[in-house]
Subunit: 307 residues, 2 copies
């Protein structure tokens, strides 16, 4: 697939214009992980998937090499076997948890219900797609290898979205990666990245999620932890604590905080809570000094929770 | 930044419509790595970068956790020091190579000239942006950790593009990652992903690159190496050889190939050549049998080049 060259000269295709920007932002911000609203009954043409791969292949790649290979699973018997592996990789346990959370109001109830729905129906997905890359990661702690394929896999998701289809990035199945490799006859030098169940979505009215930090809180200027917001410069530091948010909340209230304008953000993370403490930096303040105070406060918090 | 809720109900914002799809495809397919056409003389507002981060943060993230932190370098002294580290990480050597390739017509001449131009001017870039993620990779060979940040970094690039800005994904600087971490005061548990020099682009008329494989050649159906093209099913296998493309081309011509319809693709890769051999699978053929023949042929090719 090639972009019609005509498109290139149409004003709507001018990056920097508000219409272009709004549509691109919309696509990037509303490509959700879809599980409950995959249409398992509507077929997907091979060509649509190939078109999305052609779009995806334009993503950047280290050294300009094309080392991605894409598996598309359409055969029902193979899908059935993939579904078994998908479950035995840990999704069977997710389904049990989802049953337990049903009606509990737990923050992950909806996510788990979606994962259950997908797990129970994955063999009915019109197509399963696995992006792979030639090579093995060197274990160096650097992204190398993965950073020439993950961009492409994400483009694939956004290209599906632009066509009214959807999917969800799944990796739990990688617990069964060797069995999947055997089933699909992947050579040893091929690394699997994720599994995409691909289908039309039921409706296309997905919206941005509120479960992300605002950029102004996690973008640091020149030195780590230094923020700029509309109200001026600030610093932020954070700590992960092995305690429930309620316990942390109580401990925060017992703290003697230097200034009223300090703001604590509290979030549940696996194994405990994450606390982020923001402090404004006034015109006569030194940001390193304020940051040191913030760190001390978080350390105190951590100690209080231990005792 | 939030998408105006009004947008959600405007027909132009309907995924699945041709206009929406064409613009999203255009953005995903024309977000090139830009080096020569970065406008070092036009300033970029902080808010544009923060907006692009807000777009980027909507990318999928494992377990719904928000563990990305973004460094934005604006201070000239810090940029100057970053430029030194950028060069000492290996770009100084790239610049020497670029000088040598100048006018040679080598396939990487343009790429290297671009890398040189960027290397010589990087301190003039309006902003340097480094996406990071909390945590260290477990060395498991799985993408985990990187797959909750690389999508976001790519969204950032596309969001810049939609606003008429550009950048290039650079990782060579990671050879100096510890010095960069010290300069920017990154804590030990933070992993750097890449460095983006951010600027307006000079013109916005970037186009898709032809240096990618067509999807039909690298998308495999149900079993690795099984392709479908408009002319019917086929198989493909490939081999990397430590020999120059010309030598490989000669060896290919000496082969006794079972069918005329077999197609060899030859590409230069670091350290040698990659040969891809495509063979059609007729209605009475078994694809595994044809694939075995293809493999044998590639093995023969490899042996001939050794002797
Ligand atoms: C993982 C990765 C690492 C890269 N590292 C560098 C780099 O260190 N320096 C550079 O100039 N370009 C770098 N690039 C940019 C690539 O050279 C560029 O994306 C590729 O040539 C394809 O060109 P395109 O982005 O225009 O499609 C990198 C790209 C990726 C994806
Ligand atoms: C690296 C990664 C791994 C994921 N693994 C799974 C998975 O195994 N199963 C699943 O149902 N969802 C998985 N997801 C989807 C996330 O749960 C989902 O993207 C996240 O909750 C954010 O929701 P959103 O995509 O709607 O923004 C994964 C996402 C990422 C990025």
């Amino acid at each position: 697939m090639r972009l019609p060259s005509l498109l290139m000269s149409v004003p709507a295709f001018a990056p920097g214009t508000p219409g272009y920007q709004a549509i691109v932002d919309h696509a990037l911000m509303t490509t959700r992980g879809v599980r409950q609203r995959l249409d398992f009954d509507r077929d997907v043409d091979d060509q649509i998937i190939l078109d999305c791969i052609d779009v995806a292949e334009q993503a950047p790649t280290g050294g300009n090499n094309g080392s991605r290979r894409w598996m598309i699973i359409r055969d029902q018997q193979t899908k059935d076997r993939m579904a078994e592996l998908y479950l035995s990789a840990g999704v069977d346990w997710v389904i049990e948890t989802a049953k337990r959370l049903e009606g509990s109001g737990h923050q992950n109830e909806r996510l788990m219900a979606g994962a259950r729905h997908l797990g129970e129906n994955i063999a009915r997905t019109p197509a399963l797609v696995i992006p792979t890359i030639l090579g093995r990661h060197d274990g160096s702690g650097r992204p190398g290898l993965f950073d020439s394929v993950i961009q492409s896999a994400w483009s694939f998701m956004v290209a599906l979205r632009s066509r009214g289809l959807g999917t969800v990035w799944t990796t739990m199945y990688l617990n069964e990666a060797p069995a999947v490799a055997e089933l699909l006859e992947l050579p040893d030098h091929v690394t699997q990245i994720c599994l995409f169940p691909v289908a039309y979505t039921i409706g296309t009215d997905f919206t941005p999620t509120s479960r992300r930090y605002p950029a102004a809180d996690i973008a640091y200027f020149d030195r780590y932890g230094r923020t700029k917001s509309q109200s001026g410069p600030g610093v932020v530091d954070e700590i992960d604590l092995k305690a429930k948010p309620e316990a942390v909340r109580a401990a925060i209230e017992s703290l003697d905080v230097p200034a009223d304008a300090w703001r604590f953000d509290l979030e549940q993370v696996p194994g405990g809570s994450r606390v982020r403490l923001h402090a404004p930096v006034g015109p006569s303040d030194d940001s390193s000094t304020v940051l040191a105070e913030v760190r001390r406060t978080l350390d105190t918090l951590s100690e209080r929770l231990k005792s």
